[in-house]
């Protein structure tokens, strides 16, 4: 039976606790809903505008020149009037201002007339690309002009030719976001490609056919025709909508990671829901006991509060959905240039429905235990002044198990990768478990250690007030702050290592695409400091006779076997290499006709290669089967070049190849050296790694800000638990405040005690968070990233100062009405 008036009265009477409960529910949803809606918007833009973002209906890609069969198939379709096609070559090259020393590594795109089929290259001045990009000219991004000190009309050297800058690119349809790249864009016409002489054997060139299908319905048939002609594993044919673009992969990965942060917030907000509901029910405990004394059944009592929880949960869910929808409109600003311009965000019905269901699930899951415990409130409670201690019986275990199952399910649903999902679960459990253990240790110590000073002692005693949820608050806050602080520490360490102080022993200048014939001249130019490595580009086709599943490999979030590998050859180990399996790089006891390959430990993350495994490579059309002879590892990760696969020189010496060189040059000399190399060897790409690292640092900072923004919601969950804990212990706090006053304490004393109690909670949470973050970030930097680690004591002190102040401010704001309570008022209520 539902007693509507009673439910209404309780809602009004316990409105503060109900508000915190609704806020926790909203908080559990807000980031996931915002993220889901935002991601759906970006995804929709990527799909709906796919043709514009790819500038074509169908895209054919290859890292090597197209095979004759594929070229013939494209030309056949063009001649049949079914498609229009343009060829696009994309590569890095160093541009040099004519008549000046300045050089710049730039991303060159050479296009045929007709590009782009969809969207438009917007140029400053508003003129059309076809009108401006004539033979002998290029259009460039503003950064090219800025960094080379040039203006429109000036001439620049690109490869073996000199071209006039005819325009400035504002928007390029198939390069919609500001992802990391080694250099700004130079767009040139196909008529000048040969004169540049930059596409040579073995050069790193991305080849594309952009195809416009004249009758849209024929897109599948065209894809089918071209796919049949394409070399499997070397040439890919995709529709614009299905294209696995770099942008899509980047965004999917980012969304995946932020989704995990969202689930972390959900977990902490769930704890907040439980804490807030406990506070609400505690507020009503005497009423419940009285109802039971008057004959109300357990079912009746539970029904009333279940309805109340549903109402408040629904309000929280609506609030969360609304907040999430509003928040997603702020996200484009947060993501800055990382999402396509013109991304349309709106209400995503799927995100709202999923969010709504999630809200209901979270509320029920975390409300279960407090509601179940309603039945344990005995009528005698109305006669007892002391707190009732409720046992942790089977219901507690069931609720905890259900919550754990729910989260594992949520994570697997979000991650859709059982291995990463379980790793995340294990990581979260380890983080929360360790912090929980440390919290109990600290609290246990505080309880036993004699504390001097009256105010401090009262504050410490306050931590152990029954139902104070001190441990829950500390664990929640510490875990949330640890995640935020750890991302900051990792970002700063990466920045310090690779951006601010580029490693002293690491090469800072890399030369790519050196033709073998150029090595001698370059070696003379660069001196003995330059190390040259032969590079043979190849794809992996099969392992032990089992073909590499390229589709599933491409779906992996990390490095994968479907990409093109750079093979090299040499006789021995590098200075920074050690053997982990095998006694020599190559086996002398194997027959001489067996091709041997040494693999790097890193590649074993993609496949668990063992000595004796057979790997079949395809080197520009020529198959080569090699047997794994040893496994190497690097003594430390650095910016020194490394190769996953090393062959004996006699195997690859005759294969089509280029050279790669790395050297350390004083920063001041880089510009001049770059100019000299480019003047003498226009086809060689020179990468200034310090400049590239700065660019990477900028992206790192933005990504760090995004992660911290989402993680900040979990801190809010922790603060809401502070508020609900104050509410759950409202009566006890009032009693303490009143007793202090009756015994002669001034208001200032009462304030100091309560402020210090909150300060202690914040300080301990901050210390635990700092310790966990330092340990976690230290492990990530030294074990995974293999870089040095700095603890950033000033930032750590900042955390240790900020956490207590935050908790104190929130705790004191929540205690305002409590602290000012007058003794007589309290005593009269007690008597009543």
């Amino acid at each position: 039976m539902l007693h509507r008036r009673f439910v209404g009265r309780v809602l009004v009477q316990s409105r503060r606790q109900a508000a915190v409960l609704a806020l926790c529910t909203a908080l559990s949803l807000i980031s996931l809903v915002a993220l889901e809606g935002f991601a759906a918007g970006v995804r929709r833009t990527l799909i709906e505008d796919a043709r514009r973002l790819q500038a074509a209906d169908v895209i054919v890609r290859a890292n090597l020149p197209f095979s004759p069969a594929l070229t013939a198939a494209v030309e056949g379709l063009v001649e049949a009037g079914r498609i229009a096609a343009v060829r696009v070559h994309e590569f890095y090259s160093v541009a040099r201002a004519a008549g000046g020393p300045a050089t710049l590594l730039s991303q060159v795109k050479v296009v045929e007339a007709g590009y782009p089929f969809y969207g438009a290259v917007e140029l400053a001045g508003g003129r059309a690309l076809a009108e401006v990009l004539r033979p002998g000219t290029v259009v460039v991004e503003p950064a090219v002009l800025e960094r080379l000190g040039m203006a429109v009309g000036d001439r620049l050297h690109l490869g073996e030719t000199t071209l006039t800058v005819a325009g400035v690119i504002l928007v390029e349809p198939d390069r919609p976001v500001d992802l990391f790249s080694l250099g700004p864009r130079i767009l040139a016409g196909a008529a000048d490609l040969e004169a540049m002489d930059l596409v040579r054997h073995g050069s790193r060139v991305r080849h594309r056919y952009l195809v416009r299908v004249l009758v849209e319905a024929q897109v599948p048939a065209v894809v089918e025709t071209l796919s049949r002609a394409a070399l499997a594993g070397q040439e890919t044919v995709e529709t614009a909508g299905g294209a696995d673009s770099r942008l899509k992969r980047f965004f999917d990965n980012l969304r995946f990671f932020l989704g995990l942060v969202g689930i972390f917030t959900l977990l902490l907000a769930g704890l907040g829901i439980q804490s807030a509901l406990t506070a609400l029910l505690k507020d009503q405990e005497r009423t419940i006991a009285l109802m039971r004394a008057l004959g109300a059944t357990r079912g009746f009592v539970t029904t009333q509060f279940l309805v109340l929880v549903v109402l408040v949960g629904l309000a929280g869910t609506v609030l969360g959905l609304t907040g999430g929808a509003l928040l997603q409109h702020l996200l484009p600003r947060l993501f800055g240039g990382l999402i396509p311009a013109g991304t349309r965000l709106g209400l995503e019905p799927r995100a709202l429905v999923e969010g709504g269901l999630l809200g209901v699930a979270v509320v029920f899951l975390f409300a279960f235990l407090p509601l179940y415990r309603l039945g344990e409130v005995r009528p005698a409670a109305i006669l007892q002044a002391a707190e009732q201690t409720l046992r942790r019986g089977p219901a507690y275990v069931t609720a905890a198990a259900l919550a754990a199952l729910f989260f594992v399910g949520m994570i697997l649903w979000q991650v859709q990768d059982p291995r990463i999902g379980l790793l995340f679960v294990a990581g979260t459990l380890a983080l929360v478990g360790i912090i929980w253990g440390l919290t109990l240790l600290v609290l246990g110590g505080l309880r036993r250690i004699p504390v001097g000073g009256l105010v401090l002692r009262q504050a410490v005693r306050g931590l152990f007030r029954p139902r104070n949820a001190t441990a829950s608050i500390m664990v929640t806050l510490a875990a949330a702050l640890a995640v935020i602080f750890a991302t900051l520490l990792v970002e700063r360490n990466l920045n310090a290592t690779f951006v601010q102080s580029f490693p002293e022993d690491a090469p800072n200048l890399f030369l790519l695409d050196i033709q073998p014939a150029q090595q001698a001249a370059l070696a003379a130019e660069l001196g003995p400091a330059a190390a040259f490595y032969p590079v043979v580009r190849a794809r992996m086709e099969a392992i032990n006779g089992v073909p590499v599943d390229r589709d599933s490999e491409r779906r992996r979030r990390r490095d994968n076997l479907a990409r093109t590998f750079n093979l090299t050859y040499r006789d021995g180990l590098l200075d920074d290499e050690v053997l982990t399996v095998g006694r020599a790089l190559f086996r002398s006891d194997w027959p001489p006709d067996r091709v041997q390959v040494s693999v790097l430990e890193g590649v074993r993350e993609m496949h668990a290669f063992q000595v004796g495994d057979r790997i079949r490579f395809n080197i520009q059309g020529v198959p080569l089967e090699a047997v794994v002879s040893s496994v190497r590892d690097r003594t430390r990760d650095s910016l020194k070049p490394f190769f996953y696969f090393v062959f004996q020189p006699e195997v690859l010496a005759a294969a089509p190849q280029t050279r790669f060189a790395a050297l350390r040059v004083p920063a001041a000399d880089i510009g001049r050296l770059q100019s000299r190399i480019v003047a003498a060897h226009p086809n060689v790409s020179v990468i200034d790694a310090t400049a590239a690292a700065r660019d990477l640092g900028r992206i790192l900072r933005r990504l760090g800000t995004i992660v911290r923004f989402f993680a900040a919601f979990s801190v809010l969950a922790g603060l809401l638990i502070v508020v609900s804990s104050v509410m759950a212990t409202r009566a006890a706090r009032i009693r303490e405040a009143v007793y202090f006053k009756i015994l002669g304490a001034r208001q200032a004393f009462v304030n100091r005690v309560f402020a210090l109690e909150n300060l202690l909670i914040g300080l301990i949470s901050g210390i635990l968070a700092a310790a966990a973050a330092q340990a976690g970030a230290g492990a990530i930097c030294t074990r995974i990233l293999d870089i040095g680690y700095r603890a950033y004591p000033a930032a750590t002190l900042g955390l240790l100062a900020a956490a207590p102040i935050l908790v104190m401010a929130v705790g004191m704001a929540a205690s305002r009405g409590i602290l000012r309570r007058k003794p007589e008022d309290f005593l009269r209520r007690q008597d009543a």
Binding site: R735, E736, Y739, R746, K822, Q830
Partner: protein, 227 residues
Amino acid sequence: MAILEAESLSKRYRIGPREISVLDGVSLQVPEGQFLVIEGPSGSGKSTLLSLLSGLDRPSAGRVRIAGRDITDLDEDQLAPIRNGTIGFVFQAYHLVPALTAMENVMFPAELAGDPRAAAKAQALVRRVGMAGRADSFPHQLSGGEKQRIAICRALINAPAVVFADEPTGNLDSASGAAILDLLTEVHRERRTTLVLVTHNPRISATADRVVRIADGRLREDRSHAP
């Protein structure tokens, strides 16, 4: 000399449109060292009178003076040193701070006053009431009688001029109640502390120097017993 003076004390509450008079024009002078019992039936206004006399509540009309100082218009912070040094309280519901041990509860007022001998004084008092063995227990580990003994120690630690006790035996069985009453009267005699005790137990009234009877918010009877 009167340590406690009440002059025409009245207390009225407003509940909605109704005004309820709980105490009406009570005047009283309590000499130093006197054991005064305020008695009366339930709802007579005796606990309200105690609240007004001790400064826990403010009268609607009239004045209260303790040790010559008018406390009627003092705010909470101005009352704090008086509650700490001049007054001690013993309540029916004990009102011990749950988070503090028995010893810490006793020490607390002395520590508030900055007394460096707080611990020694508390130990002496706890020993005096036979609670030395339970000093480290928390309130929930003590029986009602034990809690009240600790509450008495706490009320006495700063050697107050007046101890107010509101039904101090009301929650205890007769044996514990008798022991508490004995303790209160003993320390009253030992320390010559003024004791103002509210009760409706005639046996307690019989041990007092003076009994005032309240009924319907008015002082109905004021009788002194021969020493």
